[in-house]
């Protein structure tokens, strides 16, 4: 299983802050998004794997925490 998290507008859009998903061997972060959101990954979405930025083709592993969020607006 992996833990999937959504932040800010994505969290509101999907109505959930987090959910658990079963992994498949070689599953990419983009495929995690597809499985969790049921739609293609928009260009503007940022991704992190275990608290660090990754690209959408990065491969996930069992036990990972995968996060999706919109462009950041801190500071």
């Amino acid at each position: 299983m992996i833990r999937v998290k959504f932040f800010a507008s994505l969290r509101e859009q999907f109505g959930a802050a987090e959910l658990d998903l079963p992994t498949r061997p070689g599953m990419s972060v983009a495929e995690v998004w597809n499985a969790a959101a049921g739609q293609p990954l928009p260009d503007y979405v940022l991704m992190a794997r275990n608290l660090e930025y990754v690209q959408s083709d990065s491969v996930v592993e069992d036990g990972d925490e995968i996060a999706f969020f919109p462009p950041v607006t801190g500071g």
Partner: protein, 147 residues
């Protein structure tokens, strides 16, 4: 030092407290460069009554520490400080404080700005503004250089 703050803070008081807590800077750090970012009561022509600052617990702290460590490696700094607000914020509140201490001003200036630009473009924070007409997420940060 990296810190997330849920309560209002005075940036100048924090700097005094930091220097008092670091007496080793006294007489050594010839230069300190500081940036304080404050919540304005207007944005894109609308009156903003309040704001909520969401973050990613765990990743936000980790990212801020990595920015600070990267600045400490890149410039000969004696100290660097980042404090960022989270949660409910009101107009006039300080949102972010960044400070860098060095023997010379070029390193202090460059490092302070580097930390701010990385923070603005990559640190996981999201602002939701509360207007009279309702709430809205802030789309994106403006660029930090003039041209």
């Amino acid at each position: 030092m990296i810190e997330l703050r849920a309560q209002e803070f005075d940036p100048w008081r924090e700097l005094r407290a930091f220097e008092t807590a670091h007496p080793e800077l006294h007489g050594k750090a010839g230069a300190s460069a500081v940036f304080a970012g404050t919540m304005r009561d207007f944005n894109q022509s609308d009156d903003v009554a309040a704001m909520f600052l969401e973050h990613y617990p765990g990743m936000t702290e980790k990212h801020l520490s990595a920015i600070r460590d990267s600045a400490m490696r890149r410039w000969p700094l004696q100290a660097a400080l980042v404090i960022h607000r989270i949660g409910e914020v009101r107009p006039g509140d300080t949102i972010v404080l960044v400070a860098a201490w060095s023997a010379h001003r070029a390193a202090a200036f460059d490092a302070c700005r580097f930390i701010m630009e990385d923070l603005k473009s990559k640190a996981p924070f999201w602002k939701k503004e509360r207007l009279r007409s309702g709430e809205r997420w802030v789309d994106s940060n403006t660029p930090g250089f003039s041209n």
